[in-house]
Symmetry: C2
């Protein structure tokens, strides 16, 4: 039999991605260019991401707040570096009223704003303004806040979840008395992201520091977690910035020390977004659609009663409902099990494939015969096939009590197996044996574009300024970028692959989303 | 002693409200006119409101989605009635880029949008567009979605929580096969709001139908819940609309019936917002600040170690931490108890009054003597004073085990007592004895403006069109509006107070926020 998607990863990864987003019912484009509609199944994943990240933020003593959607243009102007960096493509609000003039609805010229407002692309400036008011003394530090919000950055070439004009994210913003404390926070949140990605999204990542040219505008240090997608490209899945006193200076965020002097705060910011869902798709999806780690699956077990318009249909239905109730009383991965009976009309086999495409971790099919035998027929989404992919779906059978009793282990096992598969891909596709630029150019430049190209870990002398720009241009010719300098460095770093000078650190090079 | 706020409700209710918002650390104004910053304590209340409402939406089979922040201007234009009604004061995005021209940052003239975008004031139009795509057959109905989102309606006279340019809300949108099913949904969600307000916010409300002139633009029927604030004014705390086929027609939301014909969907929408927090303040606050129903208090028990720079401080601290741990293992009002040890520097008595102002339901003070005696000294925020208000704070004492063992009952009792107090206020301040317009005018028009004025329940003949406009103008002269026609009607409704004709229903009249 053929796969449940009309296209495979190998045929065209970009089109495969779009097919998963669509056929897994995650999201769709909207009439507003670059903005997406997140559908219930996609939103359910985001809810689980939010809940579990939020718990980790609270466990590290952060408090949630909410700051305005709009930022006065003058705030943006103040941050010259900010503007140079990324803040140009922004939604600009210029009027506060619509009016029908000559029968045509239009912005009312009499309601032009004195100062345009920007829809937040990120909130450093507006939050810094509050910090400046909230912080008086060292006793107010550290100040640790986070917000869950929508932000807007105009995108000319949007892709659902990966790059949309409006996206949803969390942005943490903190202020500290000194560099050490701020740097500890920056690194702590990077570690929160790393463990969250690995434990909850089952997505292995490499945590490291961005090179100077890839830093957040205004940051002294930017750290990222990078995940390897199934086409070998890197996805920057989260960033954490140590902003030094740069924003504090621009916004006058000062505090009185214990000895009575005034000092500048050291600030940080860190964020992840709905882009994580894109990462989950490209990490775990297969040619049948999405495969969801149970920790973020809106439903972990979907039960399909197989109805045949016969009197014993009622048995299959009531057995299904009893099964869901029993499962929902279990706990797995630290939360109550989420099981659903899908009662929508339609043939069970069609519904099975819908749920396969959506990536439900476990799919049960309950006919009257199962009900009579007190047994559960089920499919594990991570063990779809007997032997080779493309074979027959591997339906398993177990008596009901033992199925319910084993659900915790099974969900945990699926979570682990998805991580293990992705970790193996990452482990075996970071090349450390390409010792010269020529080797690297050959690896990435080879003719067969469809062939999987991973990352290269190589040494460099960490150039700065013009020398770095030259390196960057050299990489750009092969559509490459420096992903980060991993926190876990190899023992020896050899020579700089760009200059031949002794290297000072190892960096990851690859193509990226 | 004096109260913990610089002003009392009786002195100036509007200024008292502002003092509570500020001194309870709930929110503040921002540099963006009309937009607020919601601070951690205020946000914590909103999180609890969201969680508990969301659970009720899910229990009634609604699914969350997310739709774009922006709405094309043409969508707004299509809804002529929509525009006439309220949608004029809106934030209009006209450009997608900022550019420094002659050294001055400004909207880039080359990046003017072909069609302006509106920041959503509500999402009927953009969600209707999705419904039109999602709904094909009767099998797709009912379609029941909700979103949690920020919306923007330009406010010339903003008031924190009550009326802000940007506010946060949920908006439910549903489509149904026929009027009966849509009306059942409309009334069901009104009932969800009513029970949520009463059970969770401890805020008694009167549910009823809005008069024709107060309907949501485009609705066939609008229902509301109305709460009585401590100044006697009404707060419309939630609305639920039956939209008939009006939006379905404008947006072509049709389905194929079981017999193969095409038919228009009947749609509904319903929402509540951060305004609820304003309602909680004005329902439960007293002259010492906020009083929070335990069900929405971010912390239900705040423990203040009383430290005196002495060796036995450590005992008070560790006893406090043990107490918090023991409390957090308890359950109350259907969720784990939320207890916090406030370790911030400062004198315990100052911190006590901070938490009184913030409305923490139970405040414990633990000195080394309490620790030695295994006892808890505490204050119930709803039983602040021995005897008369303004007296001494009523500190109670109980041995630790019995305090922990009784916390569930105590929190439940506080929840109940706040509701009972507000319910008594509502019950005794709806006048049913004012039989003529003259009586009503005298009641609301009497000289002493500071005197509490409640609501009037009176009969009317439910006029329409011009006759209704006349009634509305007559009411407006006394700054009155019709709040709703309560679902629970009195047995007899007498004569229409405006015309003397036989009345057909009873309506509530009052001043409103």
């Amino acid at each position: 039999m053929s796969n449940a998607l009309p296209i495979t990863r190998r045929e065209n990864f970009a089109e495969w991605y779009q097919a998963v987003v669509k056929l897994a019912d995650l999201a769709e484009t909207s009439p507003v260019r670059g903005c997406m509609v997140i559908k219930p199944w996609g939103w359910g994943i985001w809810e689980r991401i939010q809940q579990q990240l939020d718990a980790r933020f609270k466990a590290t003593e952060h408090q949630n707040c909410y700051f305005p959607l709009f930022i006065p243009m003058s705030f943006i102007a103040k941050e010259a570096e900010h503007v140079e960096g990324f803040a140009k493509e922004m939604a600009v609000v210029t009027h506060h009223r619509l009016k029908a003039i000559d029968g045509k609805l239009q912005p009312d010229p009499e309601a032009a704003l004195e100062e345009p407002l920007i829809v937040r692309p990120t909130s450093e400036t507006i939050i810094g303004d509050a910090f400046q008011r909230w912080i008086q003394s060292y006793r107010d530090l550290p100040l640790l806040v986070n917000q869950w919000a929508n932000v807007v950055r105009w995108e000319m070439r949007p892709r659902l979840f990966l790059r949309t004009t409006e996206f949803l994210w969390q942005e943490g913003h903190t202020a500290h008395a000194d560099r050490d404390d701020a740097m500890r926070e920056t690194r702590q949140m990077l570690e929160v992201y790393r463990t969250f990605a690995e434990q909850v999204l089952a997505m292995p990542v490499i945590a490291g520091e961005k090179s100077e040219n890839e830093r957040f505008p205004g940051a002294d240090n930017t750290y990222s977690i990078e995940a390897m997608m199934q086409d070998g490209k890197a996805l920057q899945a989260g960033t954490s910035h140590y902003l030094g006193t740069h924003f504090a200076e621009a916004q006058n965020i000062r505090y009185q020390t214990a000895t009575g002097e005034m000092a500048l705060c050291h600030t940080t910011s860190w964020g992840v977004s709905t882009r994580l869902i894109g990462g989950v798709i490209m990490t775990h999806g297969d040619d049948d659609g999405l495969r969801l780690p149970p920790a973020i699956a809106p439903q972990q077990v979907v039960i399909l009663p197989v109805l045949r318009d016969r009197p014993d249909d009622a048995d299959a239905m009531s057995f299904s409902e009893d099964l869901a109730r029993a499962l929902n009383q279990q706990t797995a991965l630290g939360a109550p099990v989420r099981a659903l009976v899908d009662k929508k009309p339609g043939r069970a086999v069609d519904k099975r494939w819908d749920w396969v495409r959506r990536g439900a971790p476990v799919i049960c099919e309950i006919g009257s015969r199962d009900a009579a035998a007190n047994a559960v027929t089920f499919l594990r989404r991570d063990q779809m096939y007997d032997g080779t992919p493309g074979g027959k779906a591997k339906m398993q059978n177990r008596d009901a009590e033992s199925f319910v009793g084993s659900i915790e282990d099974m969900l945990q096992d699926i979570q682990k197996s998805l991580f293990a598969e992705a970790a193996e891909r990452l482990r075996t596709n970071v090349r450390t044996d390409l010792g010269s630029w020529q080797d690297i150019a050959t690896y990435f430049g080879r003719d067969d574009d469809s062939q999987f190209k991973g990352w290269v870990l190589t040494g460099w002398a960490k150039p700065s300024g013009a020398a770095l720009a030259k390196v960057s241009a050299q990489l750009k010719e092969l559509a490459l970028t420096i992903r980060n300098a991993p926190l876990e460095q190899p023992k020896a770093v050899g020579k700089c692959v760009f200059t031949g000078a002794p290297a000072t650190e190892a960096i990851l090079i690859g193509r990226a989303y």
